[in-house]
Symmetry: C2
Subunit: 287 residues, 2 copies
């Protein structure tokens, strides 16, 4: 039996399916305390069999690199009660024979979009999500990249948009990308939620400016062949095309990957990207 | 016989040695036209034997990803006569049985510093060079990353240093990182070459600001465990420690890889990094 778990800040998804990302059965429930959340996921799986493989896509920061300190655990997350919780250890205790693979939620979604979604068939892609926070997952040469920790893309610093003096909402950095362009930043700057701002509101000039500079940084460092942008803030009409036009304007013809158009696309898998990515982690070579 | 070629904008190095990076014999000569440069390198190698493997570290942009358009060739370089020159094709014509591996010069230097130099033993590192231009090579999970093209780190956009109004010298972007912080940018802003500016000159506050923001972008995206900074501009006294202090100040405790100190270090291999990296490319798994 192949199992996937998507551990989100507010909801958890547990599923059984295939290492190709097909979901046979899934259950969604609110994320509560670590023990209760994992007990519920484990009980649901145990009723259905004994998993040989469990792919886990978790919110971060989380220890995803084998051999490093705190591998398999949540790290210093501000989410109450969750810091240092042993994800792999808890699952391994319940299913001692299972092979367990842990990834960040955005890396799992990047993998799913690359194998089955809007970047299907590509080996070099980035997946960005813009909602309460901003994160990115990166597939390079067909493999998810981590480095010593994993991407913390939301906390990059980008140039200020013209005339934008909003101080930013990041509790660490103030005006990092997440501090200036996440959903809470938009709400704080304009006094309205992103979903309520019409497509011709100047908020979208500011928002696409910051996102385009973030994408330029990805281009400069990881050189993706395509960038997928999802999350609640990306739903505005024309958002992806406007962002791509701005990336091209800033890039000034320099970056050859941009010639593959469209370059900035919405995800195809929507709400299913995370759990499909968790199942895909079960395939050898994907972990 | 294992051969390495470092193709630089102004000098070329050709060597024979081991896939472990030991140089047995090398020859340095000025880079002239593509045909003359490669004829000289090929003749020098042919006098010594028939290489089974040739590792090439080249200036860019260059096609290093097998299967992509213009793999094995220089791309749209402004260097006269060199655009679209077939590096692999030319060498393969001279040595039909050789396995030829092509990398960017900065990726080769990153590999050499990770295997033999200032980041020895680490699987996740970045190597930055600051001179006439700015470039970076990235090793992630023990592998050099490329994406669809390769890193073009110098062309990232970072926030302006306080009170810096210099327009920048990049012919594409004006005030990208390279436009604001390369050797020519320093000379243009201050009217003096970097090598002539004393360690207490305000130029170094500006310079380390830009470099620290570039390193923050690397941390946010590729999460290296250590960053090596080389190149002519990095030679000022205290340059690496000052840069590291500024990275820590901007990062505000958020990025766990920074706890491994020192984090920003000079290279150990100096002038030998490129040719050693070219030889290391001969080892299976390094290409």
């Amino acid at each position: 039996m192949i199992a996937g778990i998507e551990l989100g800040g507010s909801k958890t998804v547990v599923a059984i399916g295939t290492a190709g990302g097909d979901v046979h059965e899934e259950w969604r429930f609110p994320t509560t305390t670590p023990l209760e959340t994992f007990q519920r996921a484990i009980a649901w799986l145990a009723e259905r069999g004994t998993p040989e493989v469990i792919g886990v896509a978790a919110f971060g920061p989380v220890g995803v690199v084998p051999g490093r300190d705190e591998y398999g655990k949540l790290l210093a997350t501000p989410k109450p009660g969750w810091a240092h919780f042993p994800i792999i250890g808890t699952l391994q205790g319940a299913f001692p024979a299972a092979r367990i693979t842990l990834e960040t939620d955005v890396n799992a979604a990047a993998l799913a979009e690359a194998r089955l979604g809007a970047a299907r068939g590509l080996d070099d892609i980035a997946y960005i999500t813009i909602g309460t926070g901003i994160g990115a997952g990166i597939l390079s040469g067909g493999r998810l990249i981590h480095g010593a920790l994993h991407s913390e893309f939301g906390h990059i610093k980008v140039p200020r948009a013209p005339r934008d003096t909003f101080p930013g909402v990041c509790s660490f950095h103030g005006d990092c990308l997440e501090g200036l362009a996440s959903g809470p930043a938009i709400a704080g700057r304009w006094g309205q939620a992103a979903a309520d701002l019409p497509a011709d509101h100047p908020a979208w000039d500011t928002e696409t400016w910051y996102l385009a500079h973030g994408i330029l940084a990805l281009l400069s460092i990881a050189s993706p062949a395509r960038v997928i942008v999802g999350g609640g803030v990306s739903q505005a009409e024309g958002f992806h095309a406007r962002t791509e036009a701005l990336v091209n304007s800033i890039a000034a013809g320099y970056f050859s990957p941009l010639s593959a158009t469209p370059y900035v696309l919405p995800p195809l898998l929507g709400q299913q990207a995370g759990i499909k990515g968790a199942l895909l982690l079960a395939a050898p070579g994907n972990e």
